[in-house]
Every structure is written in structure tokens, then in C-alpha cells.
């Protein structure tokens, strides 16, 4: 069993991809078959990944890989492979489990869509590609799946193709992530050049096993790879696509932009962490410093912006960006296990929140503005209950909710960062803000009375949508069992060595600090928004700040007027140069040729033609004389030939 699964771990990504191809093959009208195949594929992937998960429990530092040659060029060969280790196994289980919930949820959410089966094909395809990223044992293979994930996200964001905004958002997502990917690509090239292999683990020859060989270039390689991670994980300054990506259907947002794809960047950094930490002094390297600061900036900026958004999904999107920043910080300060644990927990509760938002949107007939909602607590009780669990987890309420523990871990790691303490304090500020905007959202949506009358027809969603919510909520709570510092099983599992039980962590002052901060955030939110109307209370109080945040700090606009304008200008210039400068040169040369042609024409007519004419007249006279000799009698000609022959004989006789 163990052997089988370690050799065939490729089955995990293959199953959903095959399902996707099958669905595309069925055509548009096989809706039942499409959903059946998609969900079956996902269940199969879940089973296989659970199977793969089991052997990793047996021993510490379990790592199995299966490498093979993809192709041979010249006399060289390019090898890729799949790896199974705790990191991959945990990610796989999380992705498949969350994915399955989302698939089921989509059954209800997308029931009326006319391109229903295509949706499931894309979703399956995405799931497969994401699982591929997780199990890849080669940076190249990872990049392949990475790009496929990008493609799937492009397709899913632009799923409602008839909406121009969706298409624009899809384009923006694709291009923005690709900018990061170009850096990633260069990083791959550099790494390949330096280490001669792209395999992570190859029995002592992999690039992660010999990071010392990279030397000074490891910093640059790590930063280039981080470009890719930043693009995918929506880190500043490449975060702009993620909020726009909310144009896609809500399950898509839940799957891609909360639970899995955006986590891929964090996963990537964790995967190639040896490169980042190569040559670390006291756990700090220049590349990790960059990671920390980018993470801090992202986390804080996104949390601030989230406070002033009014679209239910956008708030969640910015919250995602903010949490991703948190994870990056955790990785950067050396808390790899903490970051990944937060990633796993975040996957569950953020999916839960998005699906809850989806349920709300579905119940309100695609109304997304929180200012037009309200009082849904009674109308949608299940959604409210599960949403509240998610909200508390995200806010980081300790003890009972998974998010609380993991956030503690992250803060704990950050506080011990030797380089600087500023990130720690900024993160604390972020904690307050997180609690604040989540409270604000819940207050707007579920409490108070209904606004703008849009909830008249509000209704609880069908069970096909609520059951996944409940499952995810249970996970969000239940996961905390594995996350408590009192029983650091998950941490030791991820780290690969025994984590010491730190019981006093439960009682140290820091936890009290965060408890206070979270309480402050929730309390502030409760007090501010207890009677919120159409106009945001914050807007009334500090309109300038609110406008600044509402417009996302004008980052999009800045980009539009700088980078985009520059690119457009460059393209206009190259087109113009093509048309006028390079082409103009050709025309000049052509003109010179024409002038020369005109000159030679004159010479031809005046001199050469006249001479030829005279010669012709003479030749005609001679020809006329010669024609007399021809009688037209063929036999006479023949006879003359024969006589000529005779004459030759006579000549021969005369000679000899």
C-alpha cells in the first residue's frame, strides 16, 4: 500500500484532470453526467490523497519521490517527478476536502447556469492542476501546473463571458500573475543553470538538497521565485487582480481565491524554503527579509482597505490578501510550520466564509452590496451560524477556533524575529483591523433590520448548499484540536521532528494580548456598526480616510497611469517606428531604384534600339536572296544531302 501510493501519487492530480476532459467531451447538455463525473473525480482524489496521507504519518521526515525522464534532448535528459511528504500530503487532503465541499455547493449555486457542465469541467481541471502543484517534485513540473492553475483561474474568473467586467478581470488576473511568473521563470532558469537539476529531491542530488552549491546567487534565485509566489498569492504590489477576480462565480472565489490557488504562493515559498534560507545567519537572510516586509505591507494594507469596502466578496478578498501577507510573514521569520498551519486552517474557514457569502448572495438574488442587506440572521439561520463560526475563526478568537491558534503561532514566531520588532507590532494592528472589518460585515449582513428592501424574497439556501457549510464549519472548529500548542502534533508532523510541548504557551502573556486585541476589534466593530445605515459610520466620521481606503489606496489608478500607460506608449511607438521609420527607409530605396530605371530607359531607346533597327534591315535583304535556293521539293533537298555526303567521300579520297 505504501509503496503503491508513493509510486502512484500522480493519480491525485490526474483524476480530476481526466474528469475535466471527460466532461468537456460530453458536450454541453450532459449536465447530470458532468456533475456526477466531477464529484466522483473529486471523491476519488480525496480517497487517494487520504491514502497518501496515511503513510506519511508513520515516520518522521517521511519523504518519497518518484522521478522519471520527461524527454531527452541532444544527449541530455530532463527529469521530473512527484514527491510525497507531509507538506504535500496535508495540502492534498485540505484541497480535496475543501474542493469537494465547494463542488457540492456549486450544484446548488450554479443550478440555473446554462454553461453548467463547462463550469464543472473547469473546476475539476483547476482542482487537478492545483493538486499537481502540490505533488510536483520538480520546479519545472511545478511551474507547468502553476501555469495550468493560472489558466484555470483565467477561465473561471471569466466564466460569465458575456459580462465585459468578468472578461476584464480575467485578463487582469492572467496578466498580473504572469508578470510574477516571468520572474519565476527566470528564477527557474537561473536555478537550473546553477544547480544543473530542477528536481527538489533526488536522493541527495536534488536542488533543495544541495543549496550550498548555489552560493551567492541563491538570494537572487529566491527573490525571482518569490516574484511568482507574490503574483499568485496577491502580495503587494501584484495584489490588484485578486479583488477584481471576485467577478467570477462565488464557488470559484471560494476555491481559488480563498482556499487553494492563492495559497500556492505560500506553498511555493515553503517548498523551496531551503533556497530562501540558504546561508542564513541566525535564521535571517536578505531574501527572507524581503519576504517579511512584503508580507507585512500586504497584510496591513489589505486589512485597511477591507474596512472600507462594501461588496461582501471584496471584503473577503482583501481579508484573504491580508491573511496571505500574514502567512508570508510567518514563513519569512522562520515559522514555516506556523505559516502552513495557518494556510490549512485558513483554507477551511475562508472557504466557509466565501460559501456563506455565496449562500447570502444566492438567497438575495445576486445582491452583493452589504449596505443593502441586513437582518438575515433570522431568515437564514444556518448560514448565519456557520458564517459566525468562520468570522470568529478569521478574527482569531482563541481556544475554540482554528484560526485563533494558528494566528498565535504566527505572532509568536514573529515576536522572536531577531531582525526587527516592527513587523510584530504591525501584525498586532492587523489583528485588530481583521476583527473590526469582520464584525462590520457580520453586523451589516446579519444584524439590524433589512435595508433597501432587497431581503423580501430572501430565503435560506437548499440543503445541498448548507451541508457543505456545516461540514466546513465543523472542520474550522475541529481543526483546532490539532493546532493547540498543548498537543503540537500537526506542527511536529509538518516540521518532521518532535516539537516540544509548550504548555506554558497557553498561558503566556502574549495570548492575553491577542485576546484583548481581538476583543477590542470585535467590540469596536460592534459599537461602531450597531446602528449602521446606508452611509458607513466611518465615512461620516473621517471621510478623507474612508475615501482613500474605499478606492483601494488608488493603487489601480496609479498603475494605470504609470505602468500601463508606459506599455501602451511603447507599443504605439514601436508601431509608429515600424510604419514610418523602417518602412520609410524601404520606400526611399525603392524610389532611388525607380529614378535609375527612368534614366536607363532613355538610354535604351535613343542608342541601342536605333542600332538594332539598321542591322535588321540588312539581314532581311540577305535572307530574301537566300530564299531563292529553296524549291520546296523535299526529295531535292534529300538528294543534295546525299550528294554532299558523296562530296565528303571525294574529299576523303583526295586526302588519302
Amino acid at each position: 500500500m505504501t509503496d503503491w501510493i508513493t509510486r502512484n501519487v500522480w493519480l491525485v492530480p490526474a483524476t480530476p484532470i481526466v474528469a475535466a476532459l471527460l466532461i468537456l467531451g460530453f458536450g454541453k447538455h450532459a449536465r447530470r453526467a458532468a456533475t456526477g463525473v466531477a464529484i466522483l473525480g473529486q471523491i476519488a482524489a480525496l480517497i487517494v490523497s487520504t491514502c497518501a496521507f496515511v503513510p506519511t504519518l508513520h515516520s518522521h521526515e517521511f519523504r518519497a519521490f518518484e522521478n522519471f525522464t520527461w524527454f531527452t534532448f541532444g544527449e541530455q535528459s530532463l527529469r521530473i517527478g512527484f514527491v510525497l511528504d507531509p507538506l504535500a500530503a496535508a495540502m492534498m487532503v485540505m484541497i480535496t476536502l475543501v474542493g469537494l465541499c465547494i463542488f457540492v455547493f456549486s450544484l446548488g449555486y450554479m443550478a440555473d447556469d446554462k454553461n453548467f457542465s463547462r463550469f464543472f469541467a473547469y473546476l475539476s481541471f483547476f482542482s487537478g492542476a492545483m493538486l499537481g502543484v502540490v505533488v510536483a517534485n520538480s520546479l519545472l513540473l511545478l511551474f507547468v501546473f502553476w501555469e495550468l492553475v493560472g489558466l484555470a483561474s483565467y477561465l473561471l474568473i471569466g466564466f460569465w463571458i458575456e459580462r465585459p467586467s468578468a472578461a476584464a478581470a480575467a485578463k487582469k488576473a492572467f496578466i498580473t500573475t504572469r508578470i510574477g511568473d516571468m520572474g519565476f521563470f527566470l528564477g527557474i532558469l537561473w536555478l537550473y543553470h546553477q544547480s544543473g537539476t530542477l528536481l527538489f529531491y533526488d536522493g541527495g542530488h536534488g536542488c533543495l538538497e544541495n543549496v550550498a552549491l548555489l552560493g551567492a546567487s541563491s538570494t537572487f534565485i529566491a527573490l525571482l521565485i518569490f516574484c511568482g509566489a507574490a503574483g499568485k498569492s496577491g502580495q503587494f504590489p501584484l495584489h490588484v487582480w485578486l479583488p477584481d477576480a471576485m467577478e467570477g462565480p462565488t464557488p470559484v472565489s471560494a476555491l481559488i481565491h480563498a482556499a487553494t490557488m492563492v495559497a500556492a504562493g505560500v506553498f511555493l515559498v515553503a517548498r523551496v524554503y531551503p533556497i530562501f534560507s540558504a546561508g542564513a545567519v541566525n535564521g535571517v537572510t536578505s531574501s527572507l527579509i524581503v519576504v517579511v516586509w512584503i508580507g507585512v505591507v500586504t497584510g496591513l494594507m489589505a486589512a485597511l482597505i477591507a474596512v472600507a469596502q462594501s461588496d461582501i466578496k471584496r471584503i473577503l478578498a482583501y481579508s484573504t490578501v491580508s491573511q496571505l501577507g500574514l502567512m508570508m510573514v510567518s514563513l519569512g521569520v522562520g515559522g514555516v510550520a506556523a505559516g502552513i498551519m495557518h494556510l490549512l486552517a485558513h483554507g477551511f474557514f475562508k472557504a466557509l466564509l466565501f460559501l456563506g457569502a455565496g449562500s447570502v448572495i444566492h438567497g438575495l438574488h445576486h445582491e452583493q452590496d452589504i449596505r443593502k442587506m441586513g437582518g438575515l440572521r433570522k431568515l437564514m439561520p444556518v448560514t448565519f451560524a456557520t458564517y459566525a463560526v468562520g468570522m470568529l475563526a478569521l478574527s482569531g478568537v482563541p481556544f475554540f477556533f482554528s484560526g485563533g491558534w494558528t494566528k498565535e503561532e504566527v505572532l509568536h514566531a514573529t515576536s522572536h524575529w531577531p531582525s526587527s520588532h516592527v513587523p510584530y507590532f504591525l501584525l498586532l494592528l492587523g489583528v485588530v483591523l481583521t476583527a473590526l472589518y469582520m464584525t462590520r460585515q457580520v453586523m451589516y449582513v446579519f444584524f439590524g433590520s433589512s435595508r433597501a428592501g432587497s431581503d423580501h424574497h430572501a430565503h435560506e439556501s437548499p440543503s445541498v448548499m448548507t451541508v457543505p457549510l456545516i461540514i466546513l464549519a465543523l472542520c474550522a472548529i475541529g481543526l483546532s484540536i490539532f493546532l493547540t500548542p498543548a498537543w503540537p502534533w500537526l506542527e511536529s508532523y509538518l516540521l518532521g521532528h518532535e516539537a516540544h510541548i509548550d504548555a506554558h504557551l497557553l498561558l503566556q502573556p502574549m495570548i492575553l494580548v491577542s485576546l484583548v486585541l481581538v476583543g477590542a476589534g470585535i467590540g469596536l466593530g460592534f459599537w461602531l456598526y450597531r446602528r449602521a445605515g446606508e452611509v458607513d459610520p466611518l465615512q461620516q466620521k473621517v471621510p478623507a480616510v474612508y475615501r482613500f481606503l474605499e478606492n483601494k489606496m488608488w493603487i489601480d489608478e496609479i498603475y494605470e497611469h504609470t505602468i500601463l500607460a508606459l506599455a501602451a506608449f511603447a507599443s504605439r511607438v514601436s508601431d509608429w517606428m515600424d510604419r514610418y521609420i523602417w518602412d520609410g527607409l524601404v520606400r526611399v530605396i525603392g524610389g532611388i531604384g525607380q529614378i535609375f530605371g527612368a534614366l536607363t530607359k532613355g538610354a535604351d531607346e535613343g542608342v541601342i534600339n536605333a542600332g538594332v533597327d539598321e542591322t535588321t534591315v540588312g539581314a532581311r535583304g540577305v535572307g530574301r536572296a537566300m530564299s531563292r535556293l529553296h524549291s520546296g521539293q523535299i526529295q531535292i533537298y534529300l538528294g543534295v544531302i546525299a550528294l554532299g555526303m558523296l562530296a565528303l567521300f571525294l574529299f576523303y579520297a583526295w586526302l588519302t
Binding site: Q635, A642, L643, M645, L646, F649, L650, A653, T656
Partner: protein, 160 residues
């Protein structure tokens, strides 16, 4: 035996050649012409070039002679009337013959040995045709095709 055969064949060939050249009846002349080629083919057999002899019969008796008799048939109205004979041609022909014979007899460098038949096999001919002489062969192929088409175009009646 060879001498006897040679004499017989030579006389046979020349008699039919003269008949082909001088017989006033066109059709008889044409048939004599065909028979004369059988004689020439016999010469070739005698000289060890069986293949050429067979080709000679195949082409001349089987094809060219048939073509000639067909032509005679198609120009039948004219074939019946007598065209007469030009004696000037005879003089020239005899002159040429005398000149040739004189030149042959006079040339001393010709080998005078009696020949030993060296037969050539079809395989040798084929090999040569396909290796050394492959371009001439191609050209002849093109020439024959062109001749075929040309002949067809020439005799095609104008009205469709």
C-alpha cells in the same frame, strides 16, 4: 554454318529491301519492308544481339509496319495511282553506294578478324539502361510521349 546462314540472310534481306524500295504496288512494298526487318533481326541474332533483334521485330513488324499499312489504307485513293519513278535518285543512290563501299574497302584500320559471338544478356542491357543510360532512357520516354501526342494532334480531325 554461319557463312551459309549469313549468305542466306543477306540475300533475303537485300531482295526484300529492293522490293520495298521499288515495288510499284504500295502495299506489297510495305509488306516487303516488314519482311526485310525480319531479315535484319536475323542479322542481329547472328551477331549475338538477340534482344535487339526481338525489339526490332516487335517495333518494326508489330508497330511501324502496321502504322505504314494503316497510312496507306487511309490515303488509299492516292495509293492506287502510279506516281512514276525518278531515275535521278537511282544514280545518286548508286553513287553513294559506290562511295561507301570504296571507303570501307579502303580503310585498313578496320579489324579483319573473324568474330567470336559475344552474346549480351537482357540483364546486362537492363543494368546499363538503368545506370549509365538512365537519362537518355528518360529522354527517349519523353520523346515517345511527345511523338504520341504530336501524332494524335496531327491526325485529329478539326471538327469535334
Amino acid at each position: 554454318m554461319n557463312s551459309v546462314a549469313f549468305a542466306v540472310i543477306a540475300i533475303f534481306t537485300l531482295v526484300f529491301a529492293v522490293a520495298a524500295a521499288t515495288n510499284p504496288r504500295l502495299m506489297h512494298a510495305a509488306l516487303s519492308f516488314a519482311v526485310m526487318f525480319v531479315g535484319i533481326a536475323a542479322f542481329f541474332f547472328l551477331l549475338g544481339a538477340e534482344f535487339v533483334g526481338l525489339v526490332q521485330i516487335f517495333v518494326y513488324v508489330g508497330a511501324v509496319a502496321v502504322l505504314i499499312v494503316f497510312t496507306i489504307l487511309l490515303t488509299r485513293r492516292d495509293a492506287e495511282e502510279r506516281h512514276g519513278f525518278k531515275w535521278g535518285g537511282v544514280v545518286v543512290a548508286i553513287g553513294v553506294f559506290v562511295g561507301l563501299v570504296w571507303a570501307i574497302l579502303k580503310t585498313n584500320s578496320l579489324p579483319t578478324l573473324p568474330y567470336l559471338v559475344k552474346a549480351v544478356t537482357v540483364k546486362e542491357i537492363g543494368t546499363t539502361l538503368m545506370t549509365q543510360d538512365v537519362w537518355p532512357l528518360m529522354c527517349v520516354g519523353v520523346l515517345l510521349t511527345a511523338a504520341l501526342i504530336g501524332a494524335l494532334v496531327l491526325v485529329m480531325e478539326d471538327e469535334p
